[in-house]
């Protein structure tokens, strides 16, 4: 592909003052631009992109937004409990997911386990868990475990697990192996060598990943509830269904506050960790 392009658009030869000559390959930019343009026009056709609708009806977008931004704060005492549920669900789910993620990440890292088959099987499973949409996991969890917070916790655990395991095995593969080999050379068993030499190196990154997942899960919680997996999403769905957007505004405002506080706490700890 690349060489074909160079054959069609000849590289420019520049002769330097000292007699040497260098070649400058023709820029790939026009080709990439062309592909991108074709893709954009094609997508616009398929999705029915229509700028006139946008201009004509654009103001309707703000109808709901206006109601959301005039929250009905008298509703707040009904939001408390589900919000707390959501936070508890996220904390618990993140904890379980992270706890399972670490050992699996160890098995999936190529500098500790040298069996290619094991690594590729585990990585394959991990990538499938990661690519399964959040919504699908949540829906299946509610089918199996009934509606409620337990299903939500299970769903959060599963996708936290997928993300944490991947990020940690990528991190384990970059650690300094010297200490590990030294412990093994002194006669330490593999698990002991791992605990003594590698674990301390990855702990800060691991904890910071866990906190990051917690933030993300709190954001995802709204979607979880939407399919009936408990927490704040449940009342969110109800109020959207009844078109009480002022109350939706209250819910979102409180969720926003919770996310804001949690994000700042977690940012503080993550800065300390790394």
């Amino acid at each position: 592909m690349a060489s074909l392009y160079d054959k069609i658009f000849k590289p420019k030869t520049i002769t330097l003052e000292n007699g040497h000559s260098v070649t400058k390959k023709a820029s790939r930019f026009p080709l990439i631009l062309l592909i991108l343009l074709v893709a954009i026009v094609g997508s616009a056709k398929i999705t029915g992109f229509n700028i006139t609708t946008l201009v004509e009806n654009g103001s309707k977008f703000f109808d709901i937004l206006k109601k959301i931004f005039t929250p009905d704060f008298s509703y707040w005492d009904k939001v408390w409990q589900p919000l707390l549920d959501t936070i508890k669900m996220s904390v618990m789910g993140t904890f379980i997911g992270c706890a399972f993620g670490l050992p699996v990440a160890v098995i999936a890292s190529s500098n500790i386990v040298h069996n290619k088959a094991v690594i590729s099987v585990i990585r394959f499973i991990l990538s499938i868990v990661r690519t399964l949409p959040t919504l699908v996991i949540a829906l299946i969890a509610t089918f199996i475990f009934d509606l409620g917070t337990f299903a939500g916790t299970v769903a959060i655990s599963i996708f936290t697990f997928g993300i944490v395991a991947k990020m940690i095995y990528e991190n384990i593969e970059t650690v300094d192996m010297g200490a590990y080999e030294a412990v093994e050379a002194l006669g330490g068993s593999k698990p002991r060598a791992f605990l003594a030499a590698i674990f301390p190196q990855i702990v800060p990154y691991y904890l910071s990943t866990c906190l990051y997942c917690l933030e993300m899960n709190l954001r995802h919680a709204a979607i979880l509830g939407y399919v009936g997996a408990g927490g704040i999403g449940l009342i969110l769905q109800e109020k959207i269904g009844w078109r009480e957007y002022e109350k939706v505004g209250t819910i979102l405002f409180m969720l926003f506050c919770a996310v804001f506080i949690l994000e700042n706490i977690s940012r503080y700890f993550r800065k300390k960790l790394v």
Partner: protein, 269 residues
């Protein structure tokens, strides 16, 4: 020798009190959070259902998997890709001004603060609420999905753009000044090359995520593979779910593979 080792060991800060405290706090938080997670056992036919789901997903129905009409997996995936592509591009373009406004390195503090609060607000509103708002404008369909995706993308993309802008190496501009460059040249050869790679890389990364999150759009009927997937799940047609999921997973993995390659190439220049 041993004395020296012991001496060194004694010099180590005694961290155990701090650690114990951390463990206790975490344990308290965990116990507190487990109070709301009530396990009511599996739903009445939970185990049977789990078996059915597994069986259905592992034997995807081939007639919609290889169907080339508008109801088939191929077309739905194409539509999803188109939504994600255009959504990402529009989102990425809209993010550029927002991120310049919100970066404290360029703008005065108050304006930057307003910008970053705006980004946080955009991020907090869940995707399906944007979907509901957009559907009023466009009606259900792929167009609505596209607009929803662009709005949702703004949050994350501009957050990462800001990081790129704040990592800008300003000293290059001084040396270009010294070399007698014009303002335009400074932007073209001093700033753009620094930003272009990371901006592109962010956009490609977001494209990945958008593809993965496209199912959420199905909740409000905003086009793509989401709505058929959710319908199939709610009506327990697990073979169809299997076919749709299989298509989506393969697509996401393939796109992820290529996008990682392109992104490493972009970062290394």
């Amino acid at each position: 020798m041993n004395d020296r080792i012991n001496e060194k060991l004694n010099q180590q800060p005694r961290a155990w009190i701090k650690r114990l405290l951390t463990v206790v706090v975490v344990a308290i938080i965990l116990i507190w959070s487990s109070t709301s997670v009530e396990y009511k056992g599996m739903s009445a036919n939970g185990t049977k259902l789990a078996g059915n789901i597994l069986k259905g997903i592992t034997s995807p129905s081939t007639d919609i998997l290889f169907n080339l009409s508008t109801g088939g997996v191929a077309y739905l995936l194409l539509e999803t890709v188109c939504i994600a592509l255009l959504g990402t591009i529009i989102g990425a373009v809209l993010s550029i001004p927002i991120s310049f406004i919100a970066s404290s390195k360029i703008m005065p503090k108050p304006i930057a603060w307003i910008g970053s609060t705006l980004i946080m607000l955009i991020r907090t509103i869940p995707a399906f609420i944007y979907g509901l708002m957009v559907i009023r404008v466009t009606g259900p369909g792929a167009f609505a999905g596209l607009l929803t995706m662009s709005i949702c993308s703004i949050g994350m993309i501009s957050k990462m753009y800001i990081e790129a802008i704040e990592n800008l190496d300003i000293s290059i501009l001084d040396s270009m000044d010294a070399a007698g460059c014009t303002g335009f040249q400074k932007i073209r050869y001093g700033i753009l090359p620094q930003l272009f790679a990371s901006f592109m890389s962010t956009a490609i990364y977001r494209f990945d995520i958008n593809l993965k999150d496209a199912t959420v759009l199905g909740l409000v009927g905003a086009g793509g593979i989401g709505a058929p997937l959710i319908f199939a799940m709610n009506s327990y047609r697990w073979n169809d779910v299997g076919a749709l999921l299989l298509g989506l997973i393969i697509l996401v993995l393939v796109v992820e593979y290529f996008s990682t390659k392109i992104r490493t190439k972009l970062v290394r220049g």
